[in-house]
Structure formats: C-alpha cells, structure tokens
C-alpha cells in the first residue's frame, strides 16, 4: 500500500494528512479485523492483511526505490496534470526532478531514487484463528459492535 505520510511536519497539504491518516487507520486495524465490517463479511468479503506500507513525502526516509529506468515515464505522467504543471520544456521541470531524485540516490548504487518511509506489518495466523473462533461462538445471528473508521 502506498499513501501519503500523515506525520510530515510544519508544511503539508491538509488533504494529504487526512488521506494518509485515514489509509493507515484502514490498514491497521479496520480492514484486517473480522469485526469491523460484519456486513462485508456476510457478503463473503474476507479481511485483508496489508504486508507493507510505503509512505511518500517523508522527511526521514528509510527506503529508496530505484526509479532510474522509469524516470521518463514519471515525467510523462506528471505532465498529464496540465492544470498543475507547466508543459513548457523551458519550465525546467525535468531538470529539477532529476536533480531531486539524484540527491535522494546519493547513498545508493543507482542514479535516481524515490524516497519512502517503509513499514512492515505482520499478523500472526493465530490472531485470525482466534477471531474466527469468536465469530463461530457468537453465531451468525449475534449482533456485532460496528466500529466506523
């Protein structure tokens, strides 16, 4: 799962804070908990366990992805956002971005890097088994407490 870092300090877009925080709340604990959405469970949708989270816009990255081969594609995708980014080649967008990603790759053995804060999540199989056992004990007709995100 890739989302915005909700804990970037001082200056950050408010909607990025909210998006990041909401996504992390969903990852831990709502989407992996059997009791969060009993209505979805009845529809046959099982809890989902996210194994890895990459937070972009972080000030203290602990993971650098190699984007040397995909940098041109990134610039082309950025240029699709015409209302936000100037399409004029003289705007220096590509040069600025290349410089930024080169700086992020200073300690790596590749040329251009994208920086993230990487989180690894683990859920032991016995946690899932315990939740499933509680569900069985309660029975299908038991009303569960619904915790909205």
């Amino acid at each position: 799962m890739v989302t915005a870092n909700p804990y970037r300090r001082y200056m950050w877009h408010h909607d990025h804070h909210i998006t990041g925080r909401g996504t992390l709340d969903a990852i831990f604990l709502y989407v992996r908990d059997l009791f969060s959405y009993p209505d979805l469970l009845e529809e046959g949708l099982q809890p989902h366990k996210v194994k890895e989270v990459l937070l972009c816009g972080t000030e203290e990255p602990n993971y650098h992805a190699n984007i040397t081969d995909t940098f041109d594609l990134k610039i082309a995708a950025l240029r699709c956002h015409k209302s936000q980014i100037s399409d004029n080649p003289s705007s220096g967008l590509e040069g600025r971005m290349r410089g930024r990603h080169k700086m992020l790759a200073q300690k790596e053995d590749f040329e251009l890097a994208e920086a993230f804060y990487r989180l690894e999540l683990r859920l032991k199989p016995e946690h899932i088994a315990t939740q499933a056992a509680i569900m069985r004990l309660r029975g299908k007709d038991t009303k569960l407490v619904f915790l909205p995100p």
Binding site: D15, L73, A76, A77, L78, C80, H81, K82, S83, Q84
Partner: protein, 103 residues
C-alpha cells in the same frame, strides 16, 4: 534612564500618527475583503464554519489554474479527474476510483 514623562506625549503623537496612516489602509483592505466575500456570500453554508475559507480557496485555485475565480469547483474537479485518469493510463493503472469528497 529614559525620561518617560517627556516621552509620553511623543508616544501619544506616534500612536496617533500610526493610527492616522493605518486606518485608511486597513479600511481599504477590509472593504476589498468584504466586497470579495459578499460576491459569493449567498452560496456559503451558514452552519459550516469552514465553508467561507473553503470557498475562498476554491476560488483562488480556480483563478490560478484557469485564470477565472468564478469557475465552478465541480468543473475544476472534472478537469483534475481527467488529468489523473490520463496519467494513470500512461502508467498502466487498470482502475482509478475517485471518492469525490470535498477538498
């Protein structure tokens, strides 16, 4: 020691001068701000304390993007969605879901 008794009338005069100069400037600013907010006061939700601020930002965004502060924010959102979809297609993203919550 600074002679406070002697300075007091000077301070009074200085305060008077500042207020004399600042009042018209503040008045003009307030007038401009009032005219700006009056132009879309009818659209503001009186039960939402953040509505005015949001409206002002929406207008500012529209002015920056298309040079028109009166552009409908929904129209701007439609433009942004088209741009996002085009970028996603280029990257090979199979599906983009827009939640369409207000910014």
């Amino acid at each position: 020691m600074y002679p406070l008794e002697q300075a007091e009338p000077e301070l009074k005069l200085l305060t008077y001068l500042i207020s004399y100069l600042a009042d018209p400037v503040c008045g003009l600013l307030q007038k401009a701000e009032r005219r700006y907010t009056d132009s879309f006061k009818a659209e503001i939700n009186p039960n939402d304390a953040f509505d005015l601020n949001r409206r002002m930002w929406q207008r500012e965004l529209c002015r920056r993007v298309v040079g028109d502060p009166n552009m409908n924010p929904e129209e701007l959102a439609r433009i942004r969605e088209q741009e996002q979809s085009a970028a996603a297609k280029l990257l090979g993203v199979m599906e983009v879901v827009f939640l369409r919550h207000p910014d």
